[in-house]
Symmetry: C2
Subunit: 166 residues, 2 copies
């Protein structure tokens, strides 16, 4: 290791540490990436063959409580649903198994019936890729989200039906 | 309601309550259904087209800690992996989405390198259906589990590669 690099190393490590610890930018509508969502519990899973993605749906503690009590039409205020999306990959040792490949995005629905009354009571946000770039050029991006969720308006605009758990 | 049924009702309710609260029978090799697995965090997901099932893989706290530290070859003692398996169903509002239908089984791998040294350091157990009937006629059932996991011996006999999390 040359001396210049050696002298610079602590600063580089510090910069990398800062970068790794920095929160991603908020979505264009002001929604912040929910803290701790990686530790939320599972509500469901899906596989979309129209865009070759696997998804897991997680819920914050309020969502898990609501789901287990059957309170999902509507979901109560305070609930946050997370959908983690990966590109399809083939399991290296089991060709008939589709498994998560590259991460595509993490999507969130935040329930606040009053604050988000123009979009069914839900605030929408999405962060793309491992570096979690916020999706959308301006706050109008939510119309795309809301439009796609309109077919499930009878299920409080939520595609996920919590999976039966033994 | 006739009188005989009315008189019997408290006993019936008590019996149902006991049934609902009772732990399922242990697996034929003595492994008990791990407590609290419904609240474990997510390690991965898969979709098998050879038997039309969707799966989510959860880990106990030791498993989540090991996965995030990259300690999966081998996984340390104390780790328990859970795989929840559902039959494929079609989302009622999105025909190209496969979602969980009926529950098939909950499967577990319990890591104890010494105790389970004859089966790669893993104890296997499976409970079928919503009523969680233990799988296997006798303790020899684990040979079926172990045989199926042998192709992934280089991955500590585990099919699951923890999914990349943003």
């Amino acid at each position: 290791m040359n001396k210049r690099l050696f002298n610079t190393l602590p600063a580089l490590l510090l910069a990398a540490g800062t970068l790794a610890g920095a929160a991603p930018a908020p979505a264009p509508n002001g929604i912040e990436l929910p803290a701790g969502y990686r530790d939320w519990r599972m509500l469901g899973v899906s596989h979309r063959t129209d865009n070759s993605t696997l998804r897991v749906i997680l819920g914050n503690p309020a969502a898990i409580e609501a789901a287990r009590a059957g309170q999902t039409r509507p979901w109560p205020d305070g609930v946050i649903l997370a959908k983690l999306v990966w590109k399809d990959a083939v399991h290296p040792a089991w060709a008939a198994a589709t498994v998560p490949g590259e991460i595509v995005q993490a999507e969130f629905m935040v329930k606040d019936a009053e604050k988000y009354r123009d979009t069914g009571g839900w605030g929408f946000a999405r962060w793309k890729g491992l570096d979690q770039t916020p999706y959308g050029k301006d706050a109008g991006f939510v119309q795309e989200c809301f439009g796609c969720h309109t077919p499930v308006r009878d299920n409080d605009y939520v595609f996920t039906h919590p999976a039966a758990l033994p």
